[in-house]
């Protein structure tokens, strides 16, 4: 491949104009002893045809969920991605643009982000949000740092039912800052609220919960609301945005900051990225938000216009005193979410959420009827649930794979105590036939 348009003649002409004899001379500032005299060991160039062949072959070594049936979730889901999203996100005016620093030539991106911000606020029930963060894990971390700017105490409590990768990420973010992170144990797949209540002390500035949690279950929000009355701690809730089509928004149970991963909203699984993270909060804490924010204003002629705003929080102005170091975010993935929400709309969004709920409950019930399997039903769940068995989960998944099914998550890989537990996710894409097949295989495993 070669994307350079210059002819040999033009190169000579340009060198002459600059007043140097050859290209090498342009690099005279690079000391001799570090200048490379030989080519890098990266082989020759390849044609477009060769490129397509090679990558096609590599891609085929992956088992993909377009051909196989997947029951994996845990923060990354096989939801349906409407074709219109690819079409719009592949418009070069969106994907080959930079950050919209120049509002006059970026109204498309800016208005789309403003609409994205509105969608996130509607779904979460919060007042404001930013233009996106990297992913759910980094969004949780940014939320905790933000909470600490609002309340400068030293300890944050995180439920063990929060995604384990998110907890690991958060502890990485906190360790250099000497902030304490206490993990609150679970009691049968939901947070032990009594334990949480006991652990809140004078030193605590925030609590992090996930709803539905990593195991798919919905925490006891009424109880949480009660124990937080009169407590000066910030409640940070991590959500699956799809669940908000059916489950009350975190604003209802008095969340201060709502975060999550936006993969479900029109983004592919892509081996875990790119997706995007979101962070929404109350108006009061606008100045504490990390990341870019788009606002609506007017132009010189009084017409509606959009621009990046409240930028004095950001690194390019505040430098070491910025609310965060974030610069590039996940704009195009957030754009996909805006298109996704537009396409589904008021009815579609609810319908997707309902389908996830109904189908997951259908499968859970069927599995629970089997002798060697049981499903935990004591807490409500949305689209994921835990299956307990005496059998080796890895072995089950190997058998499923032979039948073109990608089984649930082996919980033992995250928690040794949950060795014989599988986390199963059911999206709107799963059919009765596919679920019945899974149940049939489960039933016939010895």
């Amino acid at each position: 491949m070669n994307y350079i348009p210059h002819t040999e003649e033009q190169i000579k002409e340009m060198l002459k104009s600059i007043g140097v004899s050859d290209l090498k001379e342009l690099f005279n500032d690079v000391p001799d002893n570090i200048r490379l005299n030989e080519n890098l060991n990266l082989g020759q160039s390849h044609s477009e045809l060769e490129l397509l062949k090679l990558f096609n072959n590599i891609s085929k070594k992956n088992y993909n969920t377009e051909e196989l049936v997947s029951f994996k979730g845990g923060g990354c889901y096989d939801h349906f991605v409407p074709s219109a999203i690819d079409y719009l996100a592949n418009r070069a005016e969106f994907y080959t643009a930079y950050t919209p620093y120049q509002p006059e030539v970026s109204q498309g991106t800016l208005q789309a982000i403003y609409e994205y911000q509105t969608f996130i606020c509607i779904l979460t029930g919060m007042d404001i949000t930013n233009a996106s963060l990297y992913d759910g894990a980094s969004a949780v971390s940014e939320a905790v740092l933000m909470a600490n700017r609002i309340n400068s105490k030293r300890k944050v409590l995180v439920s063990k039912t929060v995604h384990p990768d998110y907890i690991t990420t958060l502890s990485t973010y906190l360790v250099s800052l000497d902030l304490k992170l206490n993990v609150i144990p679970d009691k049968q797949y939901v947070t032990d609220i009594d334990e949480l209540s006991k652990k809140i002390d004078q030193d605590t500035f925030a609590i992090v919960l996930q709803i539905p949690n990593f195991f798919g279950y919905i925490e006891d929000v009424e109880k949480i609301k009660k124990i937080l009355i009169d407590k000066k701690v910030l409640l940070i809730i991590c959500v699956d945005p799809i669940s908000l089509g059916l489950i009350n928004s975190p604003a209802y149970y008095k969340a201060d900051i709502v975060v999550g991963d936006g993969q479900s909203l029109g983004n592919y699984q892509s081996f875990g990225g790119p997706t995007f993270g979101f962070l929404a909060t109350k108006n009061t804490w606008l100045r504490n938000l990390p990341g870019r924010i788009v606002g609506k204003t007017v132009d010189k002629k009084g017409r509606d216009a959009f621009t990046l705003t409240i930028q004095t929080r950001e690194q390019h102005i505040r430098r070491h005193r910025a609310t965060s170091n974030i610069c590039s975010n996940q704009s195009l993935n957030a754009f996909r979410a805006a298109v996704y929400c537009s396409l589904l709309g008021r009815e579609g969004f609810r319908k997707i959420a309902k389908l996830c709920f109904l189908k997951s409950h259908y499968l859970a019930k069927k599995i629970n009827e089997l002798d060697k399997f049981s499903v935990f039903f004591d807490s409500p769940f949305f689209k994921e649930f835990v299956v307990e068995t005496n059998m080796d989960i890895k072995k089950i998944n190997d058998i499923l794979l032979k039948e073109n099914i990608i089984g649930g998550i082996e919980l033992g890989s995250y928690y040794p105590a949950f060795d014989n537990h599988m986390l199963i996710a059911v999206t709107e894409k799963r059919t009765k036939e596919e679920m019945d097949k899974l149940v049939y295989i489960f039933k016939n495993i010895d």
């Binding site: 590599i58 088992y63 030539v105 498309g108 969608f119 606008l286 754009f335 579609g348 997707i352």
Partner: protein, 484 residues
């Protein structure tokens, strides 16, 4: 004609933009399985549109953007080069888009192979020994690197609290260091536009953990004293960090590892041509020398008996900086780029990007001010000081460029150059485009003399004119509300 409406002002209740499958199982009563207080009755503020309405809305919005595919985009420090289309096609293969991060290793050998091979290539390009691909953007890479630096010293019971950055550094450098609890101190730039060695010597001591450096620096100049710098830094036991924003100029020409850097971050969305998506997704992999491998985030990718595997046994790992393995979709495109170009092609990027920048510099240095009288690398920083005397500032010039169909350069950065215009043409722009740009810049300089009002009011033909940023900040309107 309908104009300027938000998506929320369009559509009509009852419409839907996607056809969903009917429920093929017997419906159950949701309220039997979900307590009443948890059930959301409606999301009534969501719009209801059909597919055409959505397509038309966002297609129209797209037409209000400048982009690489439509305009010359010489945005300094951002390396806005052409984004090859074959990469988009490759990255959209379902074998890359439709794979779950927690599938068993056997079922994602292709994905691991891509990461492994990209890692090999980046090690060769930079002289580092091992990379992590978790960081999702340049700043995220910087932060990851700071966590590693912090842990490296704590592991030696050597508690260092300071990080040095040049006064010309990107804002993300001090911000990243601060997020990791470091105190940031600035090192001055000398008269030649390089780091001031005397000032560095004065500021470095055994409380300094790291010096963060961009090379070529943000003035578009190569740090000629880099070997002396690395010596000064390492003698005090500190680490040298490479901000890879400007690696484009050095591909195949010199390796950060050979310059003495211990830890680097790269911007795949700059140097390796992955599109910037209107602000992301990017990818900011971090590479380290042998001594720092044990601190990298988990998992690393290893190769055992011809099979690619995850390695979670990293002794002193900092943990994780996000879930899973990073922006994989971006990695696919970056590797395709490197594989397609090969060694010769990569070197030619450095050659031509530097040629293009110097060609512009040579033609414009008499019309605009240039603080340092040196050949530049892949980008040049001009100053509108001459024009400032006539009441024209860098902003006016930048906005006037829009009228000629050119995206403005980076403005007012680096902070040490007054009225700065930072221009990075990249290697994919033709001589004809550069000549057009040069002529426009000369023309604008004349306009600044003869018709300053033309510049003050620019741009003239865009969908909106200059926006009221004061109003935006004083009366924040950050979302739509029903009925407003």
């Amino acid at each position: 004609m309908e104009k300027d409406k938000l998506i929320f002002d369009k559509g009509r209740k009852g419409r839907i933009g996607v056809s969903l499958p009917e429920c093929d199982i017997k419906e159950i009563n949701i309220s039997e399985h979900l307590p009443g207080h948890l059930i959301r009755k409606d999301i009534k503020d969501m719009p209801s549109l059909n597919e055409l309405e959505v397509i038309r809305h966002y297609t129209k919005l797209s037409q209000r953007n400048f982009s690489i595919d439509t305009n010359f985009y010489p945005l300094g420090s951002c390396t806005m080069k052409y984004n090859p289309k074959v990469h988009e096609k490759i990255a959209s293969f379902s074998g890359f888009t439709d794979i779950h991060p927690l599938q068993s290793e056997d079922t994602v050998q292709g994905a691991l192979e891509i990461i492994w091979k990209l890692e090999e290539a980046l090690c060769e390009i930079t002289g580092m020994k091992k990379f992590t691909f978790q960081p999702s953007a340049g700043a995220h890479g910087e932060l990851t690197a700071m966590f590693i630096v912090d842990k490296y010293f704590k592991n030696k019971n050597d508690y260092r609290k300071k990080v040095l950055v040049p006064d010309s550094s990107h804002g993300t450098n001090p911000a990243s260091a601060n997020m990791c609890g470091f105190i940031v101190e600035e090192v001055k730039t000398n008269f030649e536009g390089g780091i001031d060695l005397a000032d560095l010597k004065e500021k470095i001591n055994d409380t300094v953990a790291c010096l963060m450096l961009t090379n070529p620096n943000t003035l578009g100049l190569f740090e000629k004293d880099i070997l002396k710098v690395q010596d000064i830094v390492h003698k005090k036991g500190a680490l040298l960090y490479y901000d890879g924003a400007n690696l484009n100029a050095l591909l195949g020409k010199a390796k950060p590892g050979d310059m003495g850097f211990d830890i680097v971050h790269l911007n795949l969305h700059k140097t390796f041509s992955t599109p910037h998506g209107g602000g992301g997704p990017g990818s900011g992999p971090v590479g380290v020398v042998e001594e720092l491998i044990e601190f990298l985030p988990v998992p690393l990718i290893d190769k055992k008996n011809g099979k690619f595997v995850f390695n979670y046994k990293v002794n002193n790992s900092i943990g994780k900086v996000r879930a899973f393995y990073g922006n994989f979709g971006v990695l696919v495109k970056a590797y395709a780029y490197i594989y397609g170009l090969g060694a010769e092609g990569l070197k030619q990027i450095a050659n031509i990007s530097v040629l293009n920048a110097n060609y512009i510099l040579n033609k414009l240095e008499k019309v605009y001010n240039c603080k340092y009288n040196r050949n530049c690398m892949h980008e040049l920083v001009l100053s509108a000081l001459k024009q400032k005397n006539k009441g024209i500032n860098a902003l006016d010039i930048a906005k006037r460029l829009i009228d000629y169909g050119i995206h403005p350069p980076t403005m007012y950065f680096p902070l040490i150059v007054k009225e700065a215009l930072m221009i990075e043409p990249t290697e994919t722009e033709s001589k004809e485009t550069l000549d057009y740009f040069i002529n426009v810049m000369i023309k604008i300089a004349k306009e600044a003399e003869n018709n300053p009002e033309l510049l003050h009011n620019a741009p003239h033909n865009t969908f909106v004119s200059r926006v009221d940023e004061v109003k935006a900040a004083r009366e924040p309107n950050l979302r739509w509300y029903p009925g407003k």
